[in-house]
């Protein structure tokens, strides 16, 4: 799941100005994150109208990152989109760009900040789980990922700063090395941690591989 957070409303107001707006949401991640589903899009519509900003229409794309689907859906909203000077997109960084590829005549405004690829722990509580490094090595670590979950991406054991199993950088998050150690101990696989893990091959990552 791509985890997003809606930008501060006042910040959005200064980006939107007073011109007519068309609002775009997304049926997938932004819906699950409550940052760009139908409910949030309608709330945004109401909030903008309360500030006397005209909203020409709205749509929930299914999902916003699907270029061909978006083109098909947005065709039906041609008039509403044409009346707007600003397109406010409540989706992830990908969804915003896919919309920008299609709508060229209006200014596209990012309504959300995209945070990470993570887990929904419970409602409105999310935690990072993956850096999309292009070379998954979680099986070496009892199914946990130190690349994304350790703030120092340490591959050869914990830094030694954790306190009661919590990360020294943020006491709200578990030290992933504590989890790895406990899980491998349970599975009697602690010998895995004795192997020196070589530096990661970042040439396999999205840093360089941008299309598939």
């Amino acid at each position: 799941m791509i985890i997003t957070k809606q930008k501060d409303f006042n910040e959005l107001l200064s980006s939107v100005g007073k011109e007519p707006v068309f609002i775009v949401g997304c049926s997938e991640c932004a819906t699950m994150c409550h940052t760009g589903g139908e409910k949030e899009v309608l709330e945004m519509k109401g909030a903008l109208e309360d500030k006397n900003i005209p909203v020409t229409g709205w749509v929930i794309l299914e999902p916003a990152c699907h270029l061909q689907n978006d083109k098909r859906i947005l065709r039906k909203y041609k008039d509403e989109v044409n009346k707007a000077n600003k397109i406010l997109v409540l989706a992830c960084g990908n969804g915003i760009q896919t919309v920008s590829e299609i709508i060229e005549n209006a200014e596209v405004i990012a309504g959300n900040d995209t945070l990470f690829l993570g887990e929904i722990k419970r409602a409105n509580e999310f935690e990072k789980r993956c850096n999309m490094c292009g070379d998954c090595i979680e099986d070496l670590f009892g199914g946990f990922c130190p690349v994304s979950r350790c703030p120092k991406s340490m591959l050869n054991g914990p830094c030694g700063g954790s306190i009661d199993g919590k990360c020294e950088v943020d006491s709200n998050i578990d030290c992933v090395w504590d989890l790895i150690y406990k899980r491998l101990k349970e599975k009697k696989q602690l010998q895995l941690l004795k192997i020196i893990q070589e530096p990661k091959d970042w040439s396999k990552s999205t840093e360089t591989r941008r299309a598939l």
Binding site: C159, Y181, L193, K200
Partner: protein, 304 residues
């Protein structure tokens, strides 16, 4: 035998080595470092120069090491993996070797969120163990981390690493030390010790695995300068273990600075008797003036 450095010479002869930490200044004034060098000259076999410790910007460890070299002091240059990728790290190893730096201590580094630029992006391309292994291969085989060959001059570095005998998960601490040795560490500098009992438990395990014969263990000691510093280290520095009886001595003393000094003397005296300890590393945080008397009263002078 040819030794890579003075530190290696002292350690190899089975003498208790003494190293002292010199913190680079928060500014470009070279006098700050030369003054610390003058105060501590002759008190230690090598002088450990920190690399933007606690992620606060300071004069570079390479430049400070160079200044110490010019004064005739032998530096242990610290390099962290926080601020450089593998290209820059290896480049610094070559550069350090070229200007005459013989000892490098490899550490992952304190996280940038603790420093004076919490908005910065950490690098962490490789970790300390991978960095140790990289230098070992540069030195021994003459190859870079990628496998590409070094063309002119293999860096002949005495490789150091850090160890924390007090951190969690506690059972993994000696395993991690063993990994650092396997990666290529020649000497180990421990976290500052205040809890001798816990350090002894760690050392028992180190000796039972024969690790004290594979690597030189240099035990860290920090004189506490004030009650405030004791509290800060106790509650805010991850991985530091200050037991209650030490904290109480600082709290109940009419002269905490004197008490901190006495505690350090006692710690050195206890630690130097522990089998398998090959040296003492004194980190007098911004209190370098105390090092000469601490070393003298511990019976470490003159240095061999």
């Amino acid at each position: 035998m040819n030794y890579r450095s003075n530190l290696e010479r002292v350690l190899s002869k089975g003498k208790l080595a003494v190293t002292a930490e010199i913190g680079p200044p928060k500014g470009s004034d070279p006098d700050k470092i030369t003054r610390k060098g003058e105060i501590t000259k002759g008190c230690a076999d090598a002088f450990n120069v920190t690399d933007n410790q606690t992620a606060v910007v300071r004069m570079s460890s390479m430049a400070c090491s160079c200044i110490l070299l010019k004064m005739g002091l032998e530096p242990v240059m610290q390099i962290t993996c926080r601020d450089r990728n593998r290209i820059a790290l290896q480049s610094d190893v070559l550069g350090a070797s070229a200007i005459g730096i013989k000892n490098i201590l490899c550490i992952t580094g304190d996280h940038q969120s603790f420093g004076n630029h919490p908005e910065s992006k950490g690098v962490y391309d490789i970790d300390s163990i991978q960095f140790i292994q990289t230098i070992k291969n540069m030195r021994g085989i003459g190859v870079f981390q990628s496998g590409d060959k070094i063309l002119s001059g293999k860096p002949d570095i005495f490789i150091g690493a850090a160890a924390n005998p007090f951190a969690d998960p506690y059972e993994f601490r000696v395993d991690r030390l063993e990994k650092k040795i396997e990666a290529g560490a020649d000497f180990i500098q421990t976290q500052s010790i205040f809890n001798v009992n816990k350090f002894n438990i760690w050392m028992d395990e180190v000796r039972s695995r024969g690790l004290d014969r594979k690597v030189h263990i240099i035990a860290g000691v920090t004189p506490l300068k004030s009650l405030k510093m004791a509290d800060r280290m106790r509650f805010h520095i991850p991985g530091v273990d200050i037991p209650e009886h030490v904290a109480n001595r600082m709290k109940n003393s009419g002269d905490p600075k004197r008490e901190g000094y006495e505690i350090a003397l006692e710690l050195i005296n206890d630690i130097k008797k522990i089998k398998g300890v090959h040296g003492l590393h004194i980190t007098a945080l911004f209190w370098e003036d105390v090092i000469p008397s601490l070393v003298r009263e511990s019976g470490f002078l003159p240095r061999p």
